[in-house]
Amino acid sequence: MNWTLMWDSLPRLLAALPLTLELVALSLAFGAVLAFATALLRLSGNRVAVALTSAYTFIFRGTPLLVQIFLIYYGLSQIDLIRDSFLWPVLSQPMWCAILALALNTGAYTSEILRGAIETVPQGQVEAAKACGMSRVRLFRRIVLPVAIRQMLPAYGNEVILMVKASSLASTITMMEITGVARRMIAQTFAVFEIFIVAGILYLLINFVATRLIRHAEWRMTPYLRARA
């Protein structure tokens, strides 16, 4: 074990941390919007909407993320229609291709989590809200959504960890985030274990913080479960 090498690799790996965090944060943000829309359409009962959203979740949950990233980064750039469109300035950049792929992927998984959570909202609460004269929108905003979000948090925490790990795949399309830098340094120094350990600890720390944040959100949202002082 070469401790000095481990210590020296830290600044370079830490320098890649912001990019990893940026990839994760942007993908999760876009993914959440996508998941929300997808779950609503899926529950809308409209046959076209249900078919489209089912196909979306089926395809993105049934194929490896690597295929999705390559399809977007290498595949879309071949289509003239996209090259000529206003989307090209965005899709010609690996950063946005990675974020698009990650967001589409997490959107598919999260929409299923959200749909499951919405379906477990107790029917009695919905009926009570209706009896109070709430409109559909208000019922959704005040009763269904808060209860569902609270319900989905543990599962969503797992999804966040999966996204932190998935962001490493951006290194396959030239993005130098933590895994990309780690790979390059392994090739330069052949110090496989040292660099793996440092990079691995960085990821474990990110995941630890993310888990704590989700736990804290869960704690905040379930005051009724806490013992009264």
């Binding site: 089926f58 395809i59 049934g62 194929t63 490896p64 993320l65 690597l66 295929v67 999705q68 390559f70 399809l71 290498y74 595949g75 879309l76 750039s77 071949q78 289509i79 960890i161 932190v164 790990k165 998935a166 962001s167 490493s168 795949l169 290194s171 396959t172 895994t179 780690a182 790979r183 392994i186 090739a187 052949f190 496989v192 274990f193 793996f196 990079a199 691995g200 990821y203 474990l204 995941n207 630890f208």
Partner: protein, 234 residues
Amino acid sequence: MLDLLTSGLHGWGPQLLSGTAMTVAVALSSFLLGLAFGAAGAAAKLSDSLVLRGLAEIYTTAVRGVPELLVIYLLFFGGSGMIMAVAGIFGYGGLIELNAFSIGVAAVGLISGAYSTEVIRGAVKSVPYGQIEAARACGMGRWRILRRVLVPQTLRFALPGLGNVWQLTLKDTALISVTALAEIMRVAHTAAGSTRQSFLFYSVAALLYLALTTVSTTAFQQAERYASRGVRRA
């Protein structure tokens, strides 16, 4: 359909088919290896030994918290070195090189095993303790209880979770294309490079994976139905 695959796709059909076979072979081997790791990990986590519990905890936390790609790089660049270090202890000083297949299976198996550990541990814990007491009261020995009471029921409880682990494992095999093993993703990448038809070949790869995941979902549903045939439905 088959004709299109063999003659169409710019002549890459046969390679894609053998790539699919390779993906299935890697996924099956990794999954089985993962089951072995998972059973050992679950046994360690449920044991009385603090050391074993600690080691199993480190294994599952580290492997589930670190990107799969990083684990694959570790074994790809460091695997031979590790084996050679172990062989060195036993007095063998020669060069040992692992092929891409065994490195891939070892890496994906390691990852799969960490998830299997949690699934199997949960399943063992859901076997009612009264049944084990009853078996003991009947005079069954430890191994007989394991074989007749614990394992059959654990399998049934673990099936849905193991189905998820299988899907993860199957999709993780795409990552070992970075080690140049000729599975679906690698063949698609090579074909896309030589024909400049990236969209076509990655779409075909996506379809092949979709077919594999769909078939295995159905298979696991059948297995679950078979395993719970003796259970009353509410």
